[in-house]
Protein backbone atom coordinates (compact mmCIF):
# COMPACT_ATOMS: atom_id res chain seq x y z
CA UNK A 1 0.00 0.00 0.00
CA UNK A 2 1.39 3.39 -0.97
CA UNK A 3 1.59 6.40 1.30
CA UNK A 4 -1.50 8.56 1.20
CA UNK A 5 -3.83 5.68 0.26
CA UNK A 6 -5.33 5.42 3.75
CA UNK A 7 -7.84 8.13 4.52
CA UNK A 8 -6.61 9.92 7.62
CA UNK A 9 -8.50 13.18 7.28
CA UNK A 10 -12.04 13.70 5.98
CA UNK A 11 -13.48 16.23 3.52
CA UNK A 12 -14.27 18.65 6.36
CA UNK A 13 -10.65 18.59 7.52
CA UNK A 14 -11.41 16.50 10.61
CA UNK A 15 -8.78 13.92 11.58
CA UNK A 16 -9.51 10.35 12.75
CA UNK A 17 -9.14 11.37 16.40
CA UNK A 18 -11.47 14.35 15.97
CA UNK A 19 -8.80 17.06 15.78
CA UNK A 20 -8.58 19.85 13.22
CA UNK A 21 -5.34 20.30 11.26
CA UNK A 22 -3.69 22.70 13.72
CA UNK A 23 -4.76 20.98 16.96
CA UNK A 24 -2.33 19.43 19.42
CA UNK A 25 -3.27 16.27 21.38
CA UNK A 26 -4.25 16.75 25.05
CA UNK A 27 -1.23 17.40 27.30
CA UNK A 28 -0.78 17.01 31.04
CA UNK A 29 2.34 17.68 33.10
CA UNK A 30 3.24 16.59 36.63
CA UNK A 31 6.42 17.51 38.53
CA UNK A 32 8.30 15.53 41.18
CA UNK A 33 7.26 12.10 39.90
CA UNK A 34 10.71 10.64 40.70
CA UNK A 35 11.00 11.61 44.38
CA UNK A 36 14.65 10.54 44.70
CA UNK A 37 15.78 12.73 41.75
CA UNK A 38 16.87 16.39 41.94
CA UNK A 39 14.15 17.32 39.47
CA UNK A 40 11.59 15.33 37.50
CA UNK A 41 8.65 15.67 35.17
CA UNK A 42 6.02 13.33 33.77
CA UNK A 43 4.48 14.48 30.55
CA UNK A 44 1.46 12.81 29.05
CA UNK A 45 0.78 13.92 25.51
CA UNK A 46 -1.96 12.00 23.74
CA UNK A 47 -1.21 8.40 24.76
CA UNK A 48 2.50 9.19 25.10
CA UNK A 49 3.69 8.86 28.69
CA UNK A 50 7.22 10.10 29.36
CA UNK A 51 9.27 10.54 32.53
CA UNK A 52 12.33 12.82 32.68
CA UNK A 53 14.59 12.88 35.76
CA UNK A 54 17.61 15.06 36.56
CA UNK A 55 20.56 14.16 38.78
CA UNK A 56 23.22 16.77 39.49
CA UNK A 57 25.21 18.86 39.06
CA UNK A 58 27.55 16.19 40.44
CA UNK A 59 31.21 15.23 40.12
CA UNK A 60 31.98 14.10 36.57
CA UNK A 61 33.34 10.54 36.39
CA UNK A 62 35.57 9.34 34.88
CA UNK A 63 37.85 12.33 34.93
CA UNK A 64 38.50 12.34 31.21
CA UNK A 65 34.90 13.42 30.52
CA UNK A 66 35.35 16.56 32.66
CA UNK A 67 35.50 19.98 30.98
CA UNK A 68 37.57 22.70 32.66
CA UNK A 69 35.20 25.49 31.75
CA UNK A 70 31.73 23.94 31.88
CA UNK A 71 29.53 21.06 32.97
CA UNK A 72 28.82 18.12 30.69
CA UNK A 73 25.26 16.99 30.01
CA UNK A 74 24.79 13.23 30.07
CA UNK A 75 21.49 12.64 28.27
CA UNK A 76 19.87 9.27 27.82
CA UNK A 77 16.67 8.66 25.85
CA UNK A 78 15.30 5.17 26.32
CA UNK A 79 12.12 3.31 25.48
CA UNK A 80 10.83 0.90 28.13
CA UNK A 81 10.29 -2.65 26.83
CA UNK A 82 6.51 -2.37 27.28
CA UNK A 83 6.19 1.09 25.73
CA UNK A 84 5.20 -0.06 22.25
CA UNK A 85 2.88 -2.55 20.61
CA UNK A 86 5.76 -4.98 19.90
CA UNK A 87 8.06 -5.42 22.90
CA UNK A 88 11.41 -3.62 22.63
CA UNK A 89 14.51 -5.52 23.69
CA UNK A 90 16.23 -3.60 26.49
CA UNK A 91 19.45 -1.78 25.72
CA UNK A 92 20.76 1.07 23.64
CA UNK A 93 20.14 0.98 19.90
CA UNK A 94 21.11 3.28 17.03
CA UNK A 95 17.83 5.17 17.13
CA UNK A 96 17.92 5.93 20.86
CA UNK A 97 21.59 6.88 20.59
CA UNK A 98 20.87 9.43 17.86
CA UNK A 99 17.90 10.88 19.73
CA UNK A 100 19.98 11.11 22.92
CA UNK A 101 22.67 13.00 21.00
CA UNK A 102 20.42 15.60 19.35
CA UNK A 103 18.44 16.03 22.59
CA UNK A 104 21.68 16.68 24.51
CA UNK A 105 22.77 19.24 21.93
CA UNK A 106 19.41 21.00 22.10
CA UNK A 107 19.57 21.22 25.91
CA UNK A 108 23.24 22.31 25.89
CA UNK A 109 22.06 25.38 23.99
CA UNK A 110 19.97 26.60 26.95
CA UNK A 111 21.52 25.17 30.14
CA UNK A 112 24.09 27.59 31.63
CA UNK A 113 26.79 24.93 31.76
CA UNK A 114 29.60 27.42 32.38
CA UNK A 115 28.31 27.87 35.95
CA UNK A 116 29.36 24.30 36.86
CA UNK A 117 32.89 23.59 35.58
CA UNK A 118 34.16 19.98 35.85
CA UNK A 119 30.73 18.65 36.84
CA UNK A 120 28.10 16.50 35.20
CA UNK A 121 24.34 16.83 34.94
CA UNK A 122 22.45 13.63 34.17
CA UNK A 123 19.25 13.86 32.13
CA UNK A 124 17.29 10.60 32.02
CA UNK A 125 14.38 10.38 29.57
CA UNK A 126 12.26 7.24 29.81
CA UNK A 127 9.46 6.54 27.35
CA UNK A 128 6.89 4.56 29.34
CA UNK A 129 4.24 4.55 26.63
CA UNK A 130 4.87 5.59 23.02
CA UNK A 131 2.42 6.93 20.47
CA UNK A 132 4.42 9.01 17.93
CA UNK A 133 6.41 12.11 18.73
CA UNK A 134 8.28 10.67 21.72
CA UNK A 135 11.46 12.64 20.93
CA UNK A 136 9.48 15.90 21.14
CA UNK A 137 7.78 14.90 24.38
CA UNK A 138 11.11 13.70 25.81
CA UNK A 139 12.93 16.95 24.97
CA UNK A 140 10.14 19.16 26.33
CA UNK A 141 9.82 17.05 29.51
CA UNK A 142 13.61 17.14 30.01
CA UNK A 143 13.70 20.93 29.81
CA UNK A 144 10.86 21.21 32.34
CA UNK A 145 12.63 18.69 34.64
CA UNK A 146 15.87 20.73 34.42
CA UNK A 147 13.95 23.83 35.48
CA UNK A 148 12.31 21.82 38.27
CA UNK A 149 15.80 20.79 39.44
CA UNK A 150 16.67 24.49 39.73
CA UNK A 151 19.36 24.39 37.05
CA UNK A 152 19.89 27.85 35.49
CA UNK A 153 18.73 28.02 31.88
CA UNK A 154 18.26 30.82 29.38
CA UNK A 155 14.93 29.38 28.21
CA UNK A 156 12.81 26.25 28.14
CA UNK A 157 12.86 24.09 25.02
CA UNK A 158 9.41 23.26 23.69
CA UNK A 159 9.38 20.63 20.99
CA UNK A 160 6.57 19.65 18.65
CA UNK A 161 6.27 18.02 15.22
CA UNK A 162 4.04 18.72 12.24
CA UNK A 163 3.65 16.62 9.13
CA UNK A 164 1.56 15.78 6.13
CA UNK A 165 -1.27 13.27 5.75
CA UNK A 166 -3.33 12.82 2.56
CA UNK A 167 -1.57 15.93 1.17
CA UNK A 168 -2.81 18.04 4.08
CA UNK A 169 -0.33 19.61 6.50
CA UNK A 170 -1.31 18.88 10.12
CA UNK A 171 0.15 19.53 13.54
CA UNK A 172 1.32 16.88 16.06
CA UNK A 173 0.97 13.55 14.23
CA UNK A 174 -0.45 10.62 16.19
CA UNK A 175 0.64 7.00 15.69
CA UNK A 176 -1.55 6.16 12.71
CA UNK A 177 -0.82 9.49 11.03
CA UNK A 178 2.89 8.98 11.58
CA UNK A 179 2.74 5.48 10.07
CA UNK A 180 0.81 6.52 6.97
CA UNK A 181 2.00 10.14 6.81
CA UNK A 182 4.07 11.61 4.01
CA UNK A 183 6.30 13.91 6.05
CA UNK A 184 7.38 14.67 9.61
CA UNK A 185 9.02 17.89 10.82
CA UNK A 186 9.97 17.92 14.54
CA UNK A 187 11.32 21.21 15.91
CA UNK A 188 12.62 22.40 19.29
CA UNK A 189 11.75 26.05 19.89
CA UNK A 190 12.96 28.57 22.48
CA UNK A 191 9.66 30.29 23.27
CA UNK A 192 11.18 33.58 24.46
CA UNK A 193 13.29 34.24 21.37
CA UNK A 194 11.67 32.09 18.68
CA UNK A 195 15.06 30.48 18.01
CA UNK A 196 15.44 26.78 17.20
CA UNK A 197 17.78 24.35 18.98
CA UNK A 198 16.43 21.13 17.52
CA UNK A 199 15.36 20.37 13.98
CA UNK A 200 14.85 17.18 12.01
CA UNK A 201 12.72 16.31 9.01
CA UNK A 202 11.94 13.40 6.77
CA UNK A 203 9.49 12.95 3.93
CA UNK A 204 8.33 15.24 1.18
CA UNK A 205 7.09 18.82 1.61
CA UNK A 206 6.68 21.57 -0.99
CA UNK A 207 8.02 25.02 -0.02
CA UNK A 208 4.46 26.13 0.83
CA UNK A 209 3.74 23.00 2.85
CA UNK A 210 7.03 23.37 4.66
CA UNK A 211 6.16 26.92 5.69
CA UNK A 212 2.75 25.79 6.88
CA UNK A 213 4.24 22.99 9.01
CA UNK A 214 6.83 25.42 10.39
CA UNK A 215 4.11 27.90 11.40
CA UNK A 216 2.00 25.17 13.03
CA UNK A 217 5.01 24.14 15.13
CA UNK A 218 5.81 27.70 16.17
CA UNK A 219 2.22 28.40 17.23
CA UNK A 220 1.85 25.07 19.06
CA UNK A 221 5.16 25.62 20.88
CA UNK A 222 3.92 28.93 22.29
CA UNK A 223 0.75 27.28 23.60
CA UNK A 224 2.62 24.30 25.11
CA UNK A 225 5.08 26.74 26.70
CA UNK A 226 2.18 28.22 28.69
CA UNK A 227 1.34 24.73 30.01
CA UNK A 228 4.98 24.17 31.04
CA UNK A 229 5.17 27.49 32.86
CA UNK A 230 1.94 26.78 34.68
CA UNK A 231 3.24 23.33 35.72
CA UNK A 232 6.48 24.86 37.01
CA UNK A 233 4.54 27.38 39.08
CA UNK A 234 2.05 24.96 40.63
CA UNK A 235 3.52 21.46 40.21
CA UNK A 236 1.07 20.32 37.57
CA UNK A 237 -0.91 21.19 34.47
CA UNK A 238 -3.88 21.15 34.17
CA UNK A 239 -4.82 21.91 37.78
Amino acid sequence: MGYGDVEMIDANGIRKDGRKAGDVRPISIELGVVPVADGSCRMRWGTNDVIAAIYGPMEAHPRKIQRQDRAVLDVRYNMAPFSTSDRIRPGFNRRSREISKVTAEALESVVMLELYPRSKIRVEIEIICAEAGTRCVGLTAASVALAHAGIPMTDLVVSVASGKINDVVVCDLNKAEDNYGEADLPMGVLPNTGELVFLQMDGDLSPEEFQEAWDYNMNAAMVIHEYCVEALKTGRYPQ
Binding site: V33, N78, F82, S83
Partner: protein, 263 residues
Protein backbone atom coordinates in the same frame (compact mmCIF):
# COMPACT_ATOMS: atom_id res chain seq x y z
CA UNK B 1 29.81 2.85 41.87
CA UNK B 2 31.89 4.62 44.50
CA UNK B 3 31.42 3.61 48.12
CA UNK B 4 30.00 6.54 50.08
CA UNK B 5 31.80 7.74 53.21
CA UNK B 6 28.60 8.34 55.17
CA UNK B 7 27.69 4.74 56.06
CA UNK B 8 29.94 4.54 59.17
CA UNK B 9 28.07 7.48 60.70
CA UNK B 10 24.77 6.20 59.36
CA UNK B 11 25.46 2.73 60.74
CA UNK B 12 26.14 3.97 64.25
CA UNK B 13 23.00 6.11 64.08
CA UNK B 14 20.95 3.11 62.94
CA UNK B 15 22.42 1.01 65.77
CA UNK B 16 21.38 3.61 68.33
CA UNK B 17 17.88 3.76 66.89
CA UNK B 18 17.59 -0.04 66.91
CA UNK B 19 18.60 -0.20 70.58
CA UNK B 20 15.64 2.06 71.35
CA UNK B 21 13.35 0.06 69.03
CA UNK B 22 13.11 2.99 66.60
CA UNK B 23 13.63 3.52 62.86
CA UNK B 24 14.65 6.49 60.71
CA UNK B 25 11.11 7.20 59.61
CA UNK B 26 9.46 6.32 62.94
CA UNK B 27 8.13 2.97 61.74
CA UNK B 28 8.11 -0.08 64.03
CA UNK B 29 10.39 -3.06 63.36
CA UNK B 30 8.05 -5.00 61.05
CA UNK B 31 5.95 -2.11 59.78
CA UNK B 32 5.97 -1.52 56.01
CA UNK B 33 5.50 1.79 54.24
CA UNK B 34 2.05 2.56 52.89
CA UNK B 35 1.45 0.61 49.68
CA UNK B 36 -0.43 2.01 46.68
CA UNK B 37 -1.25 -0.23 43.72
CA UNK B 38 -2.73 0.88 40.38
CA UNK B 39 -3.55 -1.48 37.52
CA UNK B 40 -3.93 -1.04 33.77
CA UNK B 41 -1.78 2.08 33.61
CA UNK B 42 0.20 1.27 30.43
CA UNK B 43 -1.80 1.58 27.21
CA UNK B 44 0.62 -0.50 25.12
CA UNK B 45 1.09 -3.37 27.59
CA UNK B 46 -1.27 -6.36 27.77
CA UNK B 47 -1.24 -6.12 31.55
CA UNK B 48 0.31 -3.51 33.83
CA UNK B 49 0.64 -2.23 37.36
CA UNK B 50 2.29 0.58 39.25
CA UNK B 51 3.33 0.10 42.89
CA UNK B 52 4.35 2.85 45.25
CA UNK B 53 5.86 2.24 48.71
CA UNK B 54 7.01 5.55 50.16
CA UNK B 55 9.41 7.06 47.62
CA UNK B 56 9.97 3.73 45.89
CA UNK B 57 7.96 3.57 42.66
CA UNK B 58 8.00 0.72 40.12
CA UNK B 59 6.09 -0.29 36.99
CA UNK B 60 5.37 -3.76 35.65
CA UNK B 61 4.30 -4.44 32.06
CA UNK B 62 3.26 -7.76 30.50
CA UNK B 63 3.84 -8.46 26.79
CA UNK B 64 3.19 -11.64 24.80
CA UNK B 65 5.22 -13.21 21.99
CA UNK B 66 4.88 -16.51 20.22
CA UNK B 67 7.66 -19.06 20.69
CA UNK B 68 8.57 -22.57 19.62
CA UNK B 69 8.02 -24.86 22.63
CA UNK B 70 11.10 -26.51 24.11
CA UNK B 71 11.58 -30.04 22.66
CA UNK B 72 11.18 -31.69 26.09
CA UNK B 73 7.96 -29.74 26.78
CA UNK B 74 6.13 -29.55 23.45
CA UNK B 75 2.79 -28.66 25.06
CA UNK B 76 3.96 -25.72 27.14
CA UNK B 77 4.60 -22.03 26.71
CA UNK B 78 6.97 -19.99 28.79
CA UNK B 79 7.39 -17.15 31.26
CA UNK B 80 10.24 -14.66 31.19
CA UNK B 81 10.81 -12.07 33.87
CA UNK B 82 13.18 -9.15 33.32
CA UNK B 83 13.96 -6.39 35.80
CA UNK B 84 15.62 -3.17 34.77
CA UNK B 85 17.08 -0.73 37.26
CA UNK B 86 17.90 2.11 34.91
CA UNK B 87 19.76 5.27 35.91
CA UNK B 88 16.48 7.22 35.98
CA UNK B 89 15.65 5.56 39.32
CA UNK B 90 18.51 6.89 41.44
CA UNK B 91 21.86 8.65 41.40
CA UNK B 92 23.66 5.47 42.51
CA UNK B 93 22.43 3.60 39.40
CA UNK B 94 24.84 3.97 36.51
CA UNK B 95 24.21 3.39 32.83
CA UNK B 96 25.59 0.22 31.29
CA UNK B 97 24.92 -3.49 31.11
CA UNK B 98 22.72 -4.93 33.90
CA UNK B 99 24.57 -5.07 37.24
CA UNK B 100 24.86 -8.28 39.28
CA UNK B 101 22.37 -6.70 41.72
CA UNK B 102 19.69 -6.13 39.09
CA UNK B 103 20.18 -9.64 37.67
CA UNK B 104 19.75 -11.11 41.17
CA UNK B 105 16.65 -8.94 41.58
CA UNK B 106 14.97 -10.20 38.43
CA UNK B 107 15.91 -13.83 39.08
CA UNK B 108 14.57 -13.83 42.65
CA UNK B 109 11.28 -12.24 41.54
CA UNK B 110 11.09 -14.70 38.61
CA UNK B 111 11.57 -17.73 40.87
CA UNK B 112 8.85 -16.66 43.29
CA UNK B 113 6.30 -16.33 40.49
CA UNK B 114 7.43 -19.35 38.46
CA UNK B 115 7.74 -21.81 41.35
CA UNK B 116 4.37 -20.91 42.82
CA UNK B 117 2.87 -22.55 39.72
CA UNK B 118 0.44 -19.64 39.38
CA UNK B 119 0.71 -19.79 35.59
CA UNK B 120 -0.28 -23.06 33.95
CA UNK B 121 2.22 -23.21 31.07
CA UNK B 122 0.18 -25.88 29.27
CA UNK B 123 -2.59 -23.28 28.94
CA UNK B 124 -0.15 -21.27 26.82
CA UNK B 125 0.17 -23.91 24.11
CA UNK B 126 -1.17 -22.91 20.67
CA UNK B 127 -0.02 -25.78 18.41
CA UNK B 128 1.78 -28.60 20.27
CA UNK B 129 5.45 -28.75 19.37
CA UNK B 130 5.14 -25.76 17.07
CA UNK B 131 3.77 -22.66 18.69
CA UNK B 132 3.10 -21.40 22.19
CA UNK B 133 2.74 -18.12 24.05
CA UNK B 134 5.70 -16.64 25.83
CA UNK B 135 4.67 -14.31 28.64
CA UNK B 136 7.21 -11.57 29.20
CA UNK B 137 7.05 -9.63 32.45
CA UNK B 138 9.14 -6.46 32.39
CA UNK B 139 9.79 -4.72 35.69
CA UNK B 140 10.92 -1.11 35.60
CA UNK B 141 12.15 1.01 38.52
CA UNK B 142 11.04 4.65 38.37
CA UNK B 143 12.33 5.72 41.80
CA UNK B 144 14.50 3.59 44.12
CA UNK B 145 14.20 4.43 47.81
CA UNK B 146 14.88 0.88 48.95
CA UNK B 147 13.25 -2.56 48.77
CA UNK B 148 12.84 -2.84 45.01
CA UNK B 149 12.47 -6.61 45.56
CA UNK B 150 9.06 -6.45 47.23
CA UNK B 151 7.86 -3.63 44.98
CA UNK B 152 8.83 -5.55 41.82
CA UNK B 153 7.28 -8.80 43.05
CA UNK B 154 4.03 -7.07 43.98
CA UNK B 155 3.80 -5.07 40.73
CA UNK B 156 4.74 -8.20 38.76
CA UNK B 157 2.05 -10.51 40.11
CA UNK B 158 -0.56 -7.75 39.95
CA UNK B 159 0.24 -7.04 36.29
CA UNK B 160 0.11 -10.75 35.42
CA UNK B 161 -3.25 -11.15 37.17
CA UNK B 162 -4.60 -8.30 35.04
CA UNK B 163 -3.10 -9.46 31.73
CA UNK B 164 -4.97 -10.34 28.54
CA UNK B 165 -3.56 -12.70 25.90
CA UNK B 166 -3.74 -10.61 22.68
CA UNK B 167 -4.96 -13.44 20.44
CA UNK B 168 -6.73 -11.07 18.03
CA UNK B 169 -3.55 -9.15 17.26
CA UNK B 170 -1.86 -12.44 16.33
CA UNK B 171 -4.97 -13.68 14.43
CA UNK B 172 -5.42 -16.58 16.84
CA UNK B 173 -9.02 -15.97 17.89
CA UNK B 174 -10.50 -13.75 20.53
CA UNK B 175 -8.52 -12.11 23.31
CA UNK B 176 -8.70 -14.00 26.61
CA UNK B 177 -7.49 -13.32 30.13
CA UNK B 178 -4.22 -14.90 31.23
CA UNK B 179 -5.14 -17.45 33.90
CA UNK B 180 -3.16 -16.82 37.08
CA UNK B 181 -4.33 -19.17 39.81
CA UNK B 182 -2.26 -17.94 42.76
CA UNK B 183 -0.84 -14.79 44.25
CA UNK B 184 2.75 -15.33 45.44
CA UNK B 185 3.92 -12.46 47.65
CA UNK B 186 7.49 -11.56 48.54
CA UNK B 187 8.47 -10.09 51.90
CA UNK B 188 12.01 -8.82 52.40
CA UNK B 189 13.86 -8.28 55.65
CA UNK B 190 17.23 -6.66 56.23
CA UNK B 191 19.48 -6.54 59.25
CA UNK B 192 19.75 -2.87 60.21
CA UNK B 193 21.41 -1.75 63.43
CA UNK B 194 21.77 -5.38 64.49
CA UNK B 195 18.14 -6.54 64.12
CA UNK B 196 15.97 -7.52 61.17
CA UNK B 197 13.43 -4.99 59.90
CA UNK B 198 10.77 -5.23 57.18
CA UNK B 199 10.75 -3.05 54.03
CA UNK B 200 14.07 -1.18 54.40
CA UNK B 201 14.15 2.25 52.79
CA UNK B 202 17.13 3.56 50.81
CA UNK B 203 19.06 4.86 53.84
CA UNK B 204 18.44 1.68 55.82
CA UNK B 205 19.70 -0.37 52.86
CA UNK B 206 22.82 1.81 52.66
CA UNK B 207 23.63 1.29 56.34
CA UNK B 208 22.33 -2.29 56.61
CA UNK B 209 23.76 -5.81 56.50
CA UNK B 210 22.37 -9.08 55.15
CA UNK B 211 18.88 -9.34 53.72
CA UNK B 212 16.43 -12.23 53.43
CA UNK B 213 13.71 -12.50 50.77
CA UNK B 214 10.80 -14.86 51.36
CA UNK B 215 8.11 -15.58 48.75
CA UNK B 216 4.98 -17.34 50.02
CA UNK B 217 2.00 -18.69 48.09
CA UNK B 218 -1.70 -18.52 48.96
CA UNK B 219 -1.46 -21.57 51.25
CA UNK B 220 1.70 -20.23 52.93
CA UNK B 221 3.84 -22.67 50.97
CA UNK B 222 7.39 -21.35 50.46
CA UNK B 223 8.27 -20.75 46.80
CA UNK B 224 11.53 -18.87 46.88
CA UNK B 225 14.14 -17.80 49.38
CA UNK B 226 17.23 -15.71 48.90
CA UNK B 227 19.85 -14.55 51.34
CA UNK B 228 21.82 -11.57 50.07
CA UNK B 229 24.83 -9.52 51.20
CA UNK B 230 27.43 -10.22 53.88
CA UNK B 231 26.26 -11.47 57.28
CA UNK B 232 25.03 -14.50 59.22
CA UNK B 233 21.65 -15.11 60.83
CA UNK B 234 20.31 -17.66 63.33
CA UNK B 235 17.57 -20.25 62.95
CA UNK B 236 15.55 -18.44 65.62
CA UNK B 237 15.75 -15.18 63.68
CA UNK B 238 14.63 -16.92 60.51
CA UNK B 239 11.65 -18.55 62.26
CA UNK B 240 10.49 -15.15 63.43
CA UNK B 241 10.81 -13.69 59.93
CA UNK B 242 8.80 -16.56 58.40
CA UNK B 243 6.05 -15.90 60.93
CA UNK B 244 6.05 -12.19 60.04
CA UNK B 245 6.09 -12.95 56.29
CA UNK B 246 2.94 -15.07 56.63
CA UNK B 247 1.05 -12.21 58.28
CA UNK B 248 2.33 -9.52 55.93
CA UNK B 249 1.88 -11.78 52.88
CA UNK B 250 -1.80 -12.30 53.68
CA UNK B 251 -2.29 -8.56 54.04
CA UNK B 252 -0.69 -7.75 50.67
CA UNK B 253 -2.43 -10.63 48.90
CA UNK B 254 -5.79 -9.37 50.11
CA UNK B 255 -4.87 -5.97 48.71
CA UNK B 256 -4.18 -7.46 45.26
CA UNK B 257 -7.41 -9.46 45.33
CA UNK B 258 -9.44 -6.44 46.45
CA UNK B 259 -8.26 -4.56 43.34
CA UNK B 260 -9.65 -7.32 41.14
CA UNK B 261 -13.01 -7.23 42.89
CA UNK B 262 -13.26 -3.58 41.93
CA UNK B 263 -12.68 -4.19 38.24
Amino acid sequence: MSIPLVPQLLRSHLRELAQNDQRLDSRTQFEGRDVEIEVGILANAEGSARVRMGDTIVLAGVKFQTMTPYPDRPNEGGLMCMAEVRPVSGRQHEAGPPSAESIELSRVVDRGIRESGCIDTSDLCIIPGEKAWQVILDLFAVSDDGNLFDAFALAGITALRNATIPQEKFELGEDRPLVVSKTPIMCSYQRVGGRFIFDANGREELGGDERIHITLGDDNHVHSLQKGLKGAFTAAEFTELMEEARKKGDELRNMVHALEGGN
